[in-house]
């Protein structure tokens, strides 16, 4: 299939869920008994999207775009690549040795490789320090991508708002992952939401004032309606060809999550959680708008890709091409317009000194866009909404936590990666690092099974952001994809458990392994995947092994490159400790739920394995969680090779800070050298093993009593149990002052403004009453009444003439006639006419 089919296929895959949404919106209620058919329609739509995505991947993308042969194929100056073909991920380090020259040689000649970067580089003109090897890696050119416009919405002067597409390997991969996981979630939801088909549905968590439970109509169809819209919005972000369009779908994802988290709208906790998610996301989106404004005002375009005319010449370059020009060897440099705009914003520098205005503006833009990602991907200051989002039905949690909502933030950070300056990347890394550590520690003490998983998600998102921030682009995105699989799996397993025991509290569980073996063992697979189980320094392991090790290797490499700044080594220590904590809380969860003796026999006796429609997606996702990191046997096709193909323009060689002069972002391929890979691999492995061991000692062998540990670390436990007091802190810093200020303003409103208005009204009323009494009632009414009274009296007087006596009348007529005659006669005589 020609690659011109790509936009068509992906657009179809993108719009099918929208069609399903529209169908269910209008006909869902009447589709089958209680809307049962709506589930089938939505599931059919997303499965169709999934099929189309895979057709696009295998039919249109791969045949037309050759995969790089090794991790960084452009630079592979030689060596045997057969092993790569088989191993895919963690290929033999010896290979990398061959294409990274020793630091003594200042030049590296890149082999020419298709349309990928063909620029050879680069004299190390700066200080010839030992660890400047990354300077010699040739920057990659533009990754193969298809860019075009579906429809031009509107053009305001320079500002063009398009429905456009930007399709590279990352887009196609994300399409496959999102639709695959969403399909599993849809199937699972058909089973999980079965209760909603009952008419009427009784919500046992809502107690009405009269003590009974809420009884309402089932909302099965509506759930699938929202799911379809959610998938459509997420795919919209993935296919978006410009930042403005991505922002539109970004907000759509936000509103869908609002609908779904608040699905049980009658539950107070659910509606509060939905509001919280929405409001916290708005905070992030505000930053994103600032970033977008900074980009647009200085670059004049939102497009990711270049617009070409029929001759293949670039007529309108996209943001990436503007910021990383070919003449500049794809290195990030603020444009002239950016310098001007930046000088306007941050001010001119001192005489004779460069103000780095453009760099500052780029930093503002990068951090601004990242703010949106902080909100969406629940990073440190704005992470509070994600654990509360547990109030939604579990399939939503699975979808939100794996493939859609939170993935959107990481995806967008990865998508706009070329615009991030090293300083912006440092911000990302620090935020990610804080997030991963904070969330991991909170997860230790949580007892709600979904809450543990939620904090684990926050922590893993921190890993992804950290990886992106320290230069590990493909490590971060790779972890996004593997995490999507195993976190979707873990959530659906927890949903299966909740479905069986009707509680989220792990202290009522235990021993469920025997009752629900499929759930238990698929969840074990998920736990092993998330802790990165694998044989250290080998190429055998579960999916998380590859991605997490890649992140820790990159962190190792980053810490090595920034040896001069020991503070930055926290960015290495935190993820390693985080790996241990991850292993601890995941196995704590598994042991508390599935191992040991049942703690609540009543719930245990009623527990049962979930129906097949729920367990089959678990098995599918478990297979993905094991194998998604592997390459297809006999080829070099794997997620990592696809991601390498999509490596953002010019980011291969890493970068050096301009504003922060000592900052070095090392090239990603440097993390694959033996000197980094082996210690990092062992560190990650031993950390995880330590965590698992500790969990096993405490929760399986019961050599230590958790309650005693809790008592001996009481203050720490309370600190973690209260989630580092973030909610209380925000309550104190933002909510309380807002309420206080609102109270003041309300008092001002009621006391002063209302007082003025009431005073004015009273004055007007008094004046009106004077006018009314004196003017209207006395004068006007008096005159009118006097007229009426005189008329009345006159009438009464005339009435007496009507005697009713015929004779009087006759006499009156006769006398009247006579008198008239006499009068006329006298007048005629007097006038002399008679």
């Amino acid at each position: 299939m020609d690659s011109s089919w790509l936009p068509t296929l992906l657009a179809l895959a993108w719009l099918t869920p929208l069609a399903s949404f529209v169908f269910i919106l209008f006909f869902g209620k009447h589709a089958g008994p209680h809307g049962r058919f709506a589930g089938t329609v939505a599931t059919g739509a997303i499965v169709f999207s999934c099929v189309l995505s895979f057709v696009a991947m295998f039919g249109a993308w791969l045949p037309n775009n050759e995969l790089p042969e090794a991790h960084h194929g452009d630079h592979a100056a030689g060596g045997d690549h057969d092993e790569h073909a088989e191993d895919g991920e963690h290929a033999d380090e010896a290979d990398h040795e061959t294409f990274i020259r020793p630091a003594a040689s200042p030049f590296l000649l890149a082999s020419s490789g298709g349309d990928r970067g063909t620029i050879s580089l680069v004299a190390d003109t700066a200080e010839g320090e030992g660890d400047s090897a990354e300077h010699h890696i040739a920057p990659n050119g533009k990754p193969p991508a298809v860019y075009g416009v579906f429809y031009n919405l509107v053009t305001f002067g320079k500002l063009k708002l398009d429905i456009s597409y930007y399709i590279d390997a990352l887009t196609v991969t994300m399409f496959c992952v999102v639709t695959l996981i969403a399909s599993c979630v849809h199937f699972y939801a058909i089973g999980y939401m079965h209760d909603e088909l009952h008419e009427p549905y009784t919500d046992h968590e809502v107690t009405l004032t009269d003590g009974t439970h809420l009884v309402r109509k089932g909302r099965f169809y509506r759930f699938f309606q929202y799911l379809s819209l959610f998938c459509f919005s997420m795919l919209g972000i993935v296919i978006a060809g410009n930042l403005a369009m991505a922002f539109v779908f970004w907000e759509l994802v936000g509103i869908c999550s609002y609908f779904l988290i608040g699905f049980y709208i009658e539950r107070h906790s659910a509606s509060t959680a939905a509001n919280k998610a929405f409001i916290v996301n708005r905070v992030g989106d505000f930053g994103m708008l600032i970033g977008m404004m900074a980009l647009w005002s200085s670059l004049g375009t939102f497009a990711f890709g270049d617009t070409q005319n029929d001759q293949g010449e670039v007529t309108e370059p996209g943001m990436f091409s503007v910021l990383r020009t070919e003449e500049n060897h794809y290195a990030l440099a603020p444009t002239e317009s950016m310098e001007v705009e930046g000088a306007r914003v941050v001010g001119e520098g001192e005489e004779g000194e460069s103000s780095h205005a453009g760099q500052w503006l780029l930093l503002i833009a990068g951090v601004g866009v990242f703010c949106g990602c902080v909100g969406k991907s629940a990073q440190f200051p704005l992470h509070v909404w994600l654990p509360d989002a547990m109030e939604g039905p579990t399939p939503v949690s699975a979808l939100v936590h794996s493939a859609t909502m939170v993935a959107a933030g990481v995806y967008l950070t990865g998508r706009v990666y070329p615009i991030f300056t090293p300083e912006a990347l440092l911000v990302i890394a620090v935020i990610g690092c804080i997030t991963l550590f904070v969330a991991a520690t909170i997860a230790i003490t949580a007892l709600d099974i979904k809450r543990v998983l939620a904090y684990s998600t926050v922590s893993q998102l921190g890993y992804m952001m950290l990886a992106l921030g320290i230069g590990g682009w493909s490590a971060g995105i790779f972890h996004l994809i593997t995490h999507a699989c195993f976190k979707g799996l873990l959530f659906m397993c927890s949903g299966s458990v909740i479905h069986a025991v009707h509680t989220n509290d792990m202290s009522y569980m235990g021993g469920l392994r025997k009752k629900m073996p499929i759930t238990a063992y698929t969840m074990l697979v998920g736990c092993l995947a998330i802790i990165g189980a694998g044989i250290p320094t080998s190429m055998y392991g579960l999916s998380g092994y590859y991605s997490k090790d890649a992140i820790i290797e990159q962190a190792w490499s980053f810490a090595g490159a920034n040896r001069g700044n020991p503070l930055l080594s926290i960015l290495l220590i935190a993820p390693v400790i985080g790996a241990a904590i991850t292993a601890f809380y995941m196995f704590r969860l598994w042991y508390m739920t599935f191992a040991g003796e049942p703690r609540d026999h009543h719930r245990y006796d009623h527990a049962h394995e979930s129906p097949r429609v729920m367990t089959m997606p678990l098995v599918v996702l478990a297979v993905c969680a094991i194998a998604i990191g592997w390459s297809v046997p006999g080829t070099n096709l794997s997620i990592t090779s696809l991601l390498e193909q999509a490596q953002p323009v010019g980011t291969t060689p890493g970068a050096e800070g301009v504003l922060a002069e000592n900052l070095v972002v090392p090239a990603e391929q440097l993390s694959h050298v033996k000197a980094v890979k082996i210690p990092a691999g062992w560190a990650a492995f031993s950390a995880a093993a330590f965590g698992v061991l500790l969990a096993t000692i405490i929760y399986l062998w019961r050599m230590l009593n958790p309650a005693e540990i809790r008592d001996s670390f009481k203050p720490l436990y309370a600190f973690l149990w209260n989630k580092w007091y973030f909610d209380e802190l925000y309550d104190l810093i933002f909510v309380k002052p807002t309420h206080w200020i609102s109270g003041l303003i309300a008092k001002f409103d009621r006391g002063i403004i209302d007082g003025i208005i009431h005073g004015t009204a009273a004055t007007a009323k008094a004046a009106a009453s004077i006018v009314s009494n004196v003017g209207d009632r006395t004068l006007v009414d008096g005159t009118v009444n006097a007229f009426a009274n005189r008329t009345w009296d006159f009438g009464l007087m005339l009435r007496r003439l009507q005697t009713g006596s015929l004779r009087t009348y006759v006499l009156a007529i006769a006398m009247g006639t006579w008198i008239t005659y006499m009068l006329v006669s006298f007048i005629m005589v007097a006038r002399g006419t008679g």
Partner: protein
């Protein structure tokens, strides 16, 4: 000269003025009869006198001999008189019916008792 007209009537030959004088006497008698009689039938008779007093004037003014003119048929005066007679007949019929009904209700034809039209 007006105040001498009545005296001249006795000396002059019979003309319009004489008819008018008779008509006026009849009219005044009728009016007095209407105004002074309490008996409803008396009042009706007074009406007849009034109408016929007026009729005399029509006849007198309508006659060509009396006017001394030769042209035309000279029937306009008598025609009006005929109308008045027909009208008087109709009126008498209606009035008698009223009087009969009044009598049925009050056992009397005293028009002073018919005072329900008073204001």
């Amino acid at each position: 000269m007006h105040h001498f007209m009545l005296a001249n009537l006795l000396t002059e030959p019979v003309g319009v003025a004489h008819y008018m004088a008779v008509g006026a006497v009849l009219f005044v008698c009728g009016v007095l009869c209407m105004a002074l009689k309490r008996n409803a039938l008396g009042v009706l008779m007074g009406i007849e006198l009034v109408l016929n007093g007026a009729n005399l004037n029509f006849i007198a003014f309508g006659s060509r001999f009396l006017r001394g003119e030769g042209q035309g048929l000279g029937l306009d005066g008598p025609l009006m008189a005929l109308f008045v007679i027909v009208l008087a007949a109709a009126e008498a019929a209606v009035a008698l019916a009223i009087v009969l009904n009044f009598y049925n209700n009050y056992d009397s034809v005293d028009i002073d008792r018919a005072d329900q039209l008073q204001g």
